[in-house]
């Protein structure tokens, strides 16, 4: 096996040879900074965390903590309902933004904003809008109907729905952008031919758009699931896990245990998510490194 700079066979070197070629030596040296970061800030923390969470009593404690069960259910709602709604809207909007109009082009520039600006001021802004006494939404409801609006963040179901809304607001632009690139890659003459044959928009979507975007769409949905599991801001900044710790998801729950100085419980709650996360990660790695 020749390990060379560029696939050129003229500099033979056995991987077993004790002497490295200069290029190989440089290769290892240039890889070293990342390996150090990886060992110090991924391998060591993960191993240490797993070691802290090793005692079965942690899992018994989690099982008996109603907040954990609730957080697990909330996480599932977030993933199954929230993400599918988000991805369907993104798929729909990718079609809208693919239409050639000057004003749609300008709208697409504005549409990116939620993703480009930081979470904390915008999510806090939504939080104030939902304030039952002072918020803009209830003022609007009052001026239209004369009735007081609901206390948005006081009912766990409504509050969780709002958190999902915030999550969608924040990450919809990114996925729409990705799906637009997928859509633009479809050959336009297919649509023109369908047009000539008098196909309806649904038939065009069903037989041209969807088959060519299906794989991309599924990959995006799975990737979005992994990232949503790590979305701490949408829930924490909007509800803080409240009312009465009923809107926690696994990512805010871990941090909650951490703040209560129960690091082993925090780690254990994350370990519980692993049977779900690891197959997703495995699938994504296979898909990306083909």
């Amino acid at each position: 096996m020749a390990i060379t700079l560029s696939g050129d066979q003229s500099i033979p070197a056995s991987p077993l040879s004790p002497r490295l070629t200069p290029a190989q030596a440089w290769g290892i040296a240039l890889l070293a900074p990342y390996l150090l970061v990886f060992l110090a800030f991924v391998v060591y923390p993960v191993c240490y965390g797993l070691w802290l969470a090793r005692a079965p009593s942690n899992y018994v404690a989690l099982y008996n903590d109603p907040i954990f069960a609730r957080a697990a259910v909330n996480t599932l709602i977030f993933l199954v309902i929230g993400i599918n709604i988000k991805m369907l809207i993104a798929l729909f909007l990718s079609g809208f933004f693919a239409v050639q109009r000057t004003w749609i082009k300008w709208l697409s520039v504005i549409f990116i904003l939620p993703w480009a600006v930081p979470s904390i001021p915008t999510i806090l802004s939504v939080r104030f809008m939902l304030n039952p006494e002072w918020g803009m939404i209830n003022h609007l409801i009052f001026s239209l109907t004369g009735d007081d609006g609901p206390n948005w963040l006081n009912d766990p179901t409504v509050a969780l729905t709002m958190a999902i809304g915030v999550h969608i607001w924040k990450s919809l632009p990114f996925w729409t952008l990705i799906l637009i690139t997928g859509r633009l890659a479809i050959a336009q003459d297919l649509f023109e031919a369908a047009e000539v044959d008098g196909a309806s928009w649904w038939q065009k979507f069903r037989f041209i758009t969807w088959p060519s975007m299906q794989t991309l769409y599924i990959t995006c949905t799975l990737l979005s699931m992994i990232w949503t599991l790590g979305d701490f801001n949408s829930v924490y900044l909007l509800t803080g896990g409240g009312p009465a710790d009923l809107t926690h998801v696994l990512s805010t729950l871990g941090i909650r245990y951490l703040r209560l100085d129960q690091l082993s419980l925090a780690m254990a709650s994350i370990v519980c998510a692993m049977p779900f996360v690891l197959p997703l990660v495995y699938f994504m790695m296979k898909r990306l490194s083909r």
Partner: protein, 283 residues
């Protein structure tokens, strides 16, 4: 000029029926933040859609640090800037070196390192935060800017390596071969051939890392706590600690804090979109 047909008008109306809600949905939280920033306290709490007396007074209070919560505004702004710049520079250095090594030098084990990096990319950030917090404590780095810088570099590098590796693979090998013929050393190839060709991707990745670090809240609030050391987002979070939070000042500071990333994003948008779509999902 030809008059639009009825069908064209119907199409346009349908598009507007989608476009207007999309515009409102996107802009309302941002507009609400801006509205607070230009409203005197009374107007902000009255639920008006436009203040009776728009004012820049809130900006004056923030810039002159005339509130208890704003005592360290400039220090915190500087902390955010410094940390974002350090994360950008370090990530670029680490990721470019790794991508060059894996893609151009074809170092043995490079493929495995790339897979490890991808694996890290897929660990949800909030999950890694828990053990990382404790680890930073073990390293004695808590409340030190390095804790946040190194944490953000850890999170930014995998994606950076992945994107740069993809971009490197597209460069023709003949360039390296020609340089070797001319007697260039590995470092010279890196500096004189590789870096200039990679410039657009490096801009995208640098921007990505800077924005990631500037916008980060969770790691910043876990790893830093001293008022003099915290970044702006943590300071914004601390506004909520009071029962009587000065929301108009919170939103004004938030608005100021959101401007640099929005500006940076729009300045480098062309690079960003290409880089991101190339890296996030290979279609």
């Amino acid at each position: 000029m030809k008059l639009p047909s009825l069908r064209d008008v119907a199409t346009e109306a349908r598009l507007l029926l989608i476009g207007i809600p999309v515009f409102l949905w996107t802009m309302i939280p941002i507009y609400h933040m801006f509205l607070f920033a230009i409203s005197p306290k009374e107007d902000a709490f009255s639920g008006k859609l436009w203040p009776d007396h728009p004012t820049l007074h809130n900006f004056e209070i923030v810039f002159k640090q005339q509130h208890y919560f704003l005592r360290d505004f400039y220090v915190q702004f500087w902390n955010s800037t410094l940390i974002a710049a350090a994360v950008g520079a370090l990530t670029l250095f680490i990721a470019t070196a790794a991508a060059f090594s894996i893609s151009r030098l074809k170092v043995p084990g490079g493929r495995m390192v790339l897979n490890l990096a991808l694996f890290t990319y897929f660990i949800p950030a909030a999950f890694l935060a828990v053990p990382m917090y404790r680890t930073m404590g073990n390293y004695g780095l808590l409340n030190n800017h390095w804790a946040l810088i190194l944490a953000m570099v850890t999170i930014a590098s995998p994606y950076a390596i992945w994107v740069l590796k993809q971009a490197s693979d597209k460069l023709p090998v003949e360039l390296d071969e020609a340089a070797v013929m001319d007697g260039a050393t590995t470092l010279q190839i890196f500096r004189l051939v590789y870096l200039p060709l990679m410039m657009p991707s490096l801009v995208a990745i640098g921007t990505y890392a800077v924005l990631l670090a500037w916008n980060e809240y969770l790691y910043a609030f876990l790893l830093l706590s001293n008022d003099q050391e915290i970044t702006l987002p943590v300071a914004l979070g601390n506004f909520l600690a009071a029962d009587d939070s000065p929301w108009e000042l919170l939103m004004t500071t938030g608005f100021i804090y959101a401007l640099p990333p929005a500006a940076v994003y729009y300045a480098f948008r062309r690079y960003m979109v290409g880089g991101l779509t190339a890296g996030a999902v290979k279609s």
